[in-house]
């Protein structure tokens, strides 16, 4: 039995902001194995984005342990933490906001290469080309400003950036939610291909259970900061136990064609 790539035990975070209590994370525990995609699904306010931020150490938890690649992930600090970050990357929801508006595509991809010394300085431009190719983008895109690239292309650049440091796990936080329908399929298929090649693991966060089903080996359902249900996508959809899961199943719009019974 392979050791899990990621082990989260009892992770918790609360915060109060302005008039409203923002989604907390309460005693969340789960594993991710190498090469697997775990889908995390929940409505807004369920705490799934907070969980992503905790995992990426963008905010400190109040309690809990994270073991990543056998090491105490929360215990790392300073340079050691920065170096270790190469193995755990993230793709954000809004492809426009995820890039410095003054950057070119090449700048965006060079940063991680430079910071982690992935290749020698002279080889970086070639590596940028290789990364672009891997996500199905023409190398001519490298000189363009990130503002001059379409939404779907931008998200693929974001994936290329995440891949640059040769990570073991990528967290995708609503990574396809802001994309057009035609782009969505393409990006999901790309993610699948990348995983097959390399044993990359994903934590795929979304509020859309249908998309989660399409890409996940296992699914976790989150509500009000807790994991309320876990299992395979098929089981959860066929036989949802928690209220949250039931609501998520009902919420997916189905294409109603003429063959369906009249509404």
């Amino acid at each position: 039995m392979t050791e899990p790539l990621l082990e989260i035990v009892g992770l918790s975070k609360t915060f109060v902001s302005g008039g409203r209590r923002v989604a907390a994370v309460e005693s969340v525990s789960f594993d991710i194995r190498p090469g697997e995609t775990v889908g995390l699904v929940g409505g807004s306010g369920s705490g799934k984005s907070t969980l992503a931020r905790l995992l990426l150490r963008l905010t400190p938890p109040e309690s809990g342990r994270i073991r990543f690649e056998g090491k105490d992930w929360l215990g790392l600090s300073g340079n050691a933490r920065r170096r270790a970050r190469a193995r755990l990357q993230m793709v954000f929801q809004d492809p426009l906001a995820a890039f410095n508006p003054r950057a070119t595509v090449a700048d965006v991809l060079m940063d991680p290469l430079r910071i982690h010394g992935i290749v020698a300085p002279a080889d970086r431009p070639k590596e940028v080309e290789r990364l672009l190719e891997r996500v199905g983008l023409p190398s001519a895109l490298a000189e363009r400003s990130v503002l001059d690239v379409s939404g779907g292309q931008r998200q693929r650049v974001a994936i290329a950036r995440a891949l640059a440091t040769r990570p073991a796990l990528i967290v995708l936080d609503e990574a396809v939610s802001a994309l057009d329908v035609s782009m969505r399929r393409m990006v999901l298929e790309l993610l699948g291909e990348l995983q097959k090649g390399s044993g990359l693991a994903y934590l795929f966060i979304s509020h859309d259970l249908a998309v989660v089903r399409a890409v996940s080996h296992r699914v976790l359902v989150m509500e009000a900061g807790r994991i309320v249900e876990a299992g395979t996508a098929s089981r959860i959809i066929e036989d949802p136990q928690s209220d949250a899961a039931k609501a998520l199943v009902k919420a997916v719009p189905k294409l109603e064609s003429e063959n369906d019974a009249a509404t």
Binding site: G18, G19, R20, E36, T37, G43, S44, G45, G151, D180, V181, S182, R184, R185, L188, E189, G192, H207, D208, L209, A210, V211, R213, A214, V215, S216, H217, R218, G231, T232, A233, S234, R235, I237, A247, L248, K250, A251, V252, P253, K254, L255, E256, S257, E258, N259, D260, T263
Partner: protein, 259 residues
């Protein structure tokens, strides 16, 4: 012959030399739920704003919009209600919910302050806002995204308009809340006999909810027809692509279960 609310002929909108909407021609029928489907850049929001008279001053409009349903161009706010995509920016952060819902009734129906307050209270109940009595004194930032959108809908129908335009009103909301808002719209439209123009990028959402579907692409009308017919037998290849791109529980999976 169905009664028409509006007829649009060769409508075009351009910003400088960029054409955003090109030569649109179709009718909006009285009492129907018409969905406009399109991806980003298709011109659907620009078209909605053109209908509502909300285009910025630098936009140039050509073509005709006739309104047989009103007999005259619609007065925004009075004949026509508009609900925007982002409730975070469509609601005024310094006014209470009650003031914002009541405004339409005060301005267009000439209600007094207390009449308008009662109307707001009634609408807050109709859109199923929690604790309608007290929520009227709350401010937008105290509400969730779904609640804010309910407020925006209530404000849009406060002056009893006959035509409601909902521009991607669920796109910023999660799936569960989206379903709730759609069912709310369905109920309100049926109860008040409104004509609804529902703009979305989600063709499945439209097929379950709309009577007719219009597909936009790059500012042009690509297909129009009864919702279920368009979904079952799309006439245009682009429509077929949009349908194929939809992901639901019957879509083939990219990975298999691994418990």
């Amino acid at each position: 012959m169905t009664d028409l609310l509006a007829t649009i002929r060769r409508l075009s909108v351009a910003y400088g030399d960029v054409d955003v909407v090109r030569g649109l021609s179709f009718d909006i029928r009285l009492g129907e739920r018409l969905a406009i489907i399109g991806e980003s850049g298709s011109g659907k929001s620009t078209f909605a704003r053109a209908l509502a008279g909300l285009l910025p001053p630098n936009a140039s409009l050509s073509g005709e919009m006739d309104w047989p349903g009103f007999g005259r161009p619609p007065l925004p706010g009075r004949d026509l209600g508009f609900v925007f995509q982002d409730p975070g920016s469509s609601l005024n952060p310094v006014l209470t919910i009650g003031e914002q819902i009541a405004e339409g009734a005060r301005r267009h129906l000439g209600y007094s302050a207390s009449e308008a307050w009662h109307r707001a209270r009634e609408l807050a109940g109709r859109v199923r806002l929690p604790q309608p009595e007290t929520i009227l004194n709350a401010f937008p930032h105290q509400l969730s995204g779904g609640q804010k959108q309910r407020v925006a809908i209530a404000a849009a129908i406060a002056s009893r308009p006959r035509f409601l335009i909902a521009d991607e009103v669920t796109s910023a909301l999660d799936m569960v809340v989206q379903a709730e808002i759609v069912s709310l719209l369905r109920r309100l439209v049926a109860e008040d006999g409104l004509t609804l123009l529902f703009i979305t990028h989600d063709i499945a959402l439209a097929s379950a909810f709309a009577d007719r579907i219009v597909v936009f692409r790059n500012g042009e009308l690509v297909e129009i027809g009864a919702a279920k017919a368009v979904v079952s037998r799309p006439a245009d290849a682009y429509t077929a692509e949009l349908i194929a791109g939809h992901i639901d529980f019957t879509t083939p999976r990219l990975v298999e279960d691994m418990p």
